[in-house]
């Protein structure tokens, strides 16, 4: 076989590849110069040779390591003093075995270092040094490292064998509900996590966090930073959590990880400063914060799929919103976790001990030391980070100051807030002086306007949240039951309305100065103000706010359709959801004023908007609003006998665009016109009865699916109970008692589940009791039992939270639902006090009036005519409350009319 000539470049390529395989780093240019006439070809083909050799090299190392490690477990190989029992894990850093240390007869975990780490002498030397340090860590929650070893060219370290699972395993089990309690044994942490009530779950999480923080503190005191705290490095064994793999991250830091970009699983929990290679104790605190976040929400705090976006998301100041994902997390626990996971290491807990301390305080029900960052603090921080804060105009500061004054209401926080505002303003002024000259002021103002508005919106959200938490229940549903009593769940005051009004003027200014970009936000703000006014019983003003919001959202849609179509579909979807919310709110508002036809038109519009948009039909929030509209339509349908009229619009409304045609005949007395109107409405109601049944079925189907898909969304579940209640109501109209019974049972079951899952939460106890008391009594034994339970719950809530007016009102409502004379008298006493304390709360007046009416009926049946008359007069006085009829919400006037009618009947 004669040797034939080879391609000259191929000869060099073979040599090049051989040198690479020997670990040399030959340069491509060197070869290009050796064969100048072929230099182009050489440059072209040698680059892929580099890539393919690197790939082949890595593959070889991996396969050899893998084949070898598999063999170790299969053959129960002896490695020095250790006999391998089985492989228990495999990760980026190596392979973990269960093994027996024969000289001591103890069970150990052997972690075999991957060839990456073991292949470099320098790495091994460092590993030995550091392993010696880690072996010095003795703490009840740190897995002890016994030592390191080497046998047959394999490097490993031995540590205590933990007979348990990692927190990462536990989290993935928790997110599969079917595997919940079955697999865990009592007494273990994973059992406590899986089987316990919400309260116990939260406490288990807090205890786990406290123990890990304690372990970290111990290590930090020895100058050791873990650098890689994550669910996969926390082991659960019985009732103990163990921190494992101390310092291993640092070891691998300078081999595979920094060479190549970090492994994503690790990057996810890594503190932002670690991206720059800096890590201290606070980096571990951050990672622990994110780990606890994931345990609570069962999803990573930062879930981005690629390195680049993950780093970008983490560095851009996007505060985590824990309770948005899981509303039943206690506020204090949320505060602690968010502080631990703060982007800026300065605002985190500065020591692991401080974190442990706060978690312990949470466990002891003592006040925690961490404070929530208020919007004002965020403003100050933001202005520190943004040197061009010059655009922080005085108007913003003034608005926020006004807000602070109204919202703080005289306690010491007001002074604190104002001080902070003062500081922010000074900073702003100073920056304006320094920078203002150099920059185009107009441009600056414009770009910062958006930032300022974002801050204002945050302030707004915070106020809304405060109001929400004050009220104990976030819902704004007003039920017009057979007794014509409106129940609003929230407690709002006129001060809230004033405060929001102040803020709203600020929004309005931005709304007019800026075009489309802020319309959605201002519309949302107007809607929220409408909500507040609605709760205050100022329904006509609420309607005005809603109409403004609707106008803004329509303008936004028009402008989007005009030009920048499809540039941001998620924002468009957001606007549609907003519009659905506004339409529903409008419907509710006009129905509270008695204009049921008009309400129907709004609800129908909700349906039209929803059904015309395919994207909305895939969005759970939009589905929810649509289902609400269906529910509201059926509930207005079934409200036969309610006078459908409203008083003339007030002058104050001005000459704004008129809403759809409405009946404007005043109704103040039960005259023949009113009776005719009632008869007409009854006829309509009969006509639409069949429709309403269809709508209700659709609502139940939709909400059922939503509840199944989002079991944690309480508002979905509660709306579903409303749908069942509608179903029961429709069935009763048809005298179909078995369906009614069934629907009531379904509603109760759902409520009982909500209560069972959240037995500690005052909110759910409130919702349960509130819904039960609004159900027809005596329909079934179960309802009767539920009512007794509701009364007990109401009593307990009042004992636990004596200052919450909502709970007092609930107790009164429950007593009224019982219906006997003593209970009614008790209820009236409670309500009289509430009306005194909260004169602006229309719903309390309505409740009190209905209680007095009940007592009057009882008196009348017992032939105590004088007393019955007196009670009715009292009820009327409560409702009139020294106001002129045109200043009262229409609903009050309607009720007053009805009481006056009854009074006349008694007098006759």
């Amino acid at each position: 076989m004669p040797t034939e000539p080879r391609h000259p470049v191929e000869i060099l390529a073979e040599e090049f590849a051989d040198r690479l395989r020997r670990g040399e780093t030959p340069s491509i240019e060197e070869y290009a110069q050796r064969l100048p006439e072929q230099s182009d070809t050489i440059r072209k083909v040698f680059t892929p040779i580099l890539a393919i050799e690197r790939l082949s090299d890595g593959q070889l190392a991996d396969q050899q390591f893998e084949a070898r490690t598999a063999r170790l477990a299969r053959d129960h190989t002896q490695l020095g003093d250790f006999r391998i029992v089985r492989q228990v894990g495999r990760g980026g850093m190596g392979v973990v075995y269960e093994a027996i240390q024969q000289s001591l007869g103890r069970r150990v975990a052997l972690k075999l270092l991957s060839p990456e780490v073991a292949s470099s002498a320098e790495q091994l030397r460092r590993f030995q040094l550091e392993a010696a340090t880690f072996a010095k860590l003795h703490h009840t929650n740190i897995v002890p490292v016994f030592g390191i070893g080497e046998a047959d060219g394999l490097h490993f370290y031995a540590m205590q064998f933990i007979d348990g699972i990692t927190l990462a395993n536990a989290i993935s089990q928790l997110s599969r509900p079917q595997s919940l309690t079955n697999a865990t044994k009592p007494g273990t942490i994973e059992h406590a996590l899986a089987a316990s009530s919400t309260k116990d779950f939260m406490r288990t999480v807090a205890r786990l966090g406290r123990d890990v923080a304690g372990a970290l503190q111990h290590a930090h005191e020895q100058g050791i930073v873990h650098r890689d705290i994550k669910p996969g490095n926390l082991m659960l064994e019985d009732a103990t959590v163990w921190v494992t793999d101390f310092g291993i991250a640092k070891l691998t830091d300078e081999t595979s990880q920094t060479k190549t970009g970090l492994l994503l699983g690790t990057l996810r929990y890594m503190a932002p400063e670690q991206f720059n290679g800096q890590a201290d104790a606070r980096s571990d605190i951050y990672s622990l914060g994110l780990t606890l976040f994931e345990l609570l929400t069962l999803q990573p705090a930062f879930a981005d799929a690629t390195h680049a976006t993950l780093i970008k998301t983490k560095l851009s100041e996007s505060p985590l919103r824990l309770r948005a994902l899981r509303p039943d997390v206690p506020r204090d626990l949320e505060t602690i976790i968010l502080k631990a996971g703060a982007t800026d290491s300065q605002t985190r807990y500065q020591t692991a001990d401080a974190l442990a301390e706060d978690l312990q305080r949470f466990l002891d029900d003592r006040p925690i030391l961490a404070r929530r960052a208020s919007s004002v603090e965020r403003l100050v921080r933001w202005s520190r980070r943004n040197p061009t804060v010059a655009g922080l105009s005085f108007a913003v500061v003034a608005s926020l100051a006004a807000l602070a004054i109204v919202s703080a209401g005289g306690n010491y926080r007001m002074r604190q807030t104002l001080d902070q505002l003062q500081a922010a303003k000074q900073l702003a002024d100073q920056n304006l002086r320094e920078k203002g000259v150099a920059l185009d002021v107009a441009e600056q103002q414009r770009s910062l306007a958006a930032n300022n508005l974002a801050l204002a919106i945050e302030a707004f959200e915070e106020i809304m949240h405060n109001i929400g938490s004050r009220s104990g229940s976030g819902g704004l549903s007003v039920e017009l039951n057979d007794g014509d009593v409106a129940y609003g769940a929230g407690v709002v005051t006129d001060a809230d309305a004033e405060m929001l009004g102040t803020l709203l003027r600020f929004f309005d200014r931005f709304g007019t100065e800026n075009t489309t970009s802020l319309l959605k936000e201002t519309a949302a703000a107007n809607r929220r103000v409408g909500d507040i006014l609605y709760q205050l019983g100022r329904v006509e003003e609420a309607e005005t706010s809603y109409l403004t919001a609707l106008d803004q959202i329509n303008r936004l849609a028009a402008e989007n359709a005009g030009g920048e179509m499809g540039d941001d579909s998620s924002r468009t979807l957001g606007s549609i959801v907003e519009k659905l919310q506004i339409l529903n709110a409008l419907g509710l508002t006009v129905s509270a004023q008695g204009a049921l036809d008009e309400a129907q038109q709004y609800f129908r519009q909700t349906a039209d908007v929803y059904l015309a948009d395919t994207a909305a039909q895939k969005n759970s929030s939009a589905q929810f609003e649509y289902a609400r509209a269906l529910n509201l339509r059926t509930s207005t349908f079934s409200r036969i006998g309610f006078p459908q009229a409203r008083p003339l619009p007030r002058e104050a409304r001005g000459n704004r665009e008129s809403p759809p045609a409405r009946r404007q005949n005043a109704t103040k007395s039960p005259d023949p016109a009113l009776r005719r109107a009632r008869a007409a409405f009854a006829a309509t109601a009969r006509q639409v009865h069949r429709d309403s049944k269809t709508l209700n079925q659709e609502a139940i189907r939709l909400l059922g699916a939503l509840v199944e898909a989002h079991p944690k969304r309480v508002d979905f579940a509660i709306e579903l109970t409303h749908a069942y209640r509608e179903q029961a109501r429709i069935a009763r109209l048809e005298l179909d008692s078995s369906t009614a019974h069934e629907a009531n049972r379904a509603a109760l079951e759902l409520l009982e589940r909500l209560l069972r899952d959240n037995s500690e939460s005052p909110y759910f106890r409130f919702v349960f009791a509130d819904t039960v008391t609004s159900m027809p009594v005596g329909a079934s034994r179960r309802n009767g039992l539920a009512l007794s339970r509701a009364i007990r719950i109401a009593g307990a809530l009042v004992r636990e939270y004596p200052s919450m007016p909502d709970y007092l009102a609930l107790k009164a409502k429950a007593l009224l639902a019982r219906g006997d004379s003593d209970s009614s008298a008790d209820a009236v006493r409670i309500l009289e006090q509430l009306v005194d304390d909260y004169p602006a709360m229309a719903q309390y007046r309505l409740l009190l009036a209905s209680g007095l009416q009940r007592l009057s009926n009882i008196d009348f049946e017992s032939q105590r005519i004088g007393s019955a008359q007196e009670r009715l007069e009292q009820a009327i006085a409560v409702l009139e409350a020294d106001t002129e009829s045109d200043q009262r919400p229409a609903i009050l006037n309607i009720y007053i009319d009805r009481l006056k009618q009854q009074l006349e009947e008694i007098q006759q």
Partner: protein, 201 residues
Amino acid sequence: MPETVRDDLERLVDGGATELAALFEELRPRLERLVEFRLHSGLRGRVDTADVLQEAFLTISARLPGFLESPDVSPFVWMRRLTLQCVVDTHRHHFRHKRSVGKEVKLSRPAAGDETSLSIAHALFDPRMSPSKAVVQAEELERLRQALDAMDETDREVLALRHFERLSNNETAEELGLSTTAASNRYIRAMARLAELMNPQ
């Protein structure tokens, strides 16, 4: 014929079975590499490379007299072929109940293009391969994978033999039944093609 090849052949002619065992031990690292590269990743941990090589050695011993009668390739390339056949037999044994007849036919053809790309794909995408995989720049790796995917089978096989099995040009020529010139030119052509696929201008 290069010196070493003639030497190897002479050793086998003179020394018979004893020399065969010695030569096999010398070539073992290269044959291990072949097995590890060609063995389906699903069988790793279940099938030991050493077992496959032991099986291969038995076959090689049995076929030695026949080979020595008319040695058409070098001893290494011959041993490599028989070892590869053992890998294929192992696949067939383990996947018999799962594979269609058509697949089996394909599998029984040594070093078929499918098998090569399969091995390369495993090298790139085995999720358990995290440590070393991280060594290679992820982006470059991705481009390489796509480029290899897009190549025709002959080119891909040339690159697999040269870089994954690490055969020399002469061995590659023998294996593919080409002249050294043709193998050499084909390698450069394949590599140029890979370069173009990775960096389309």
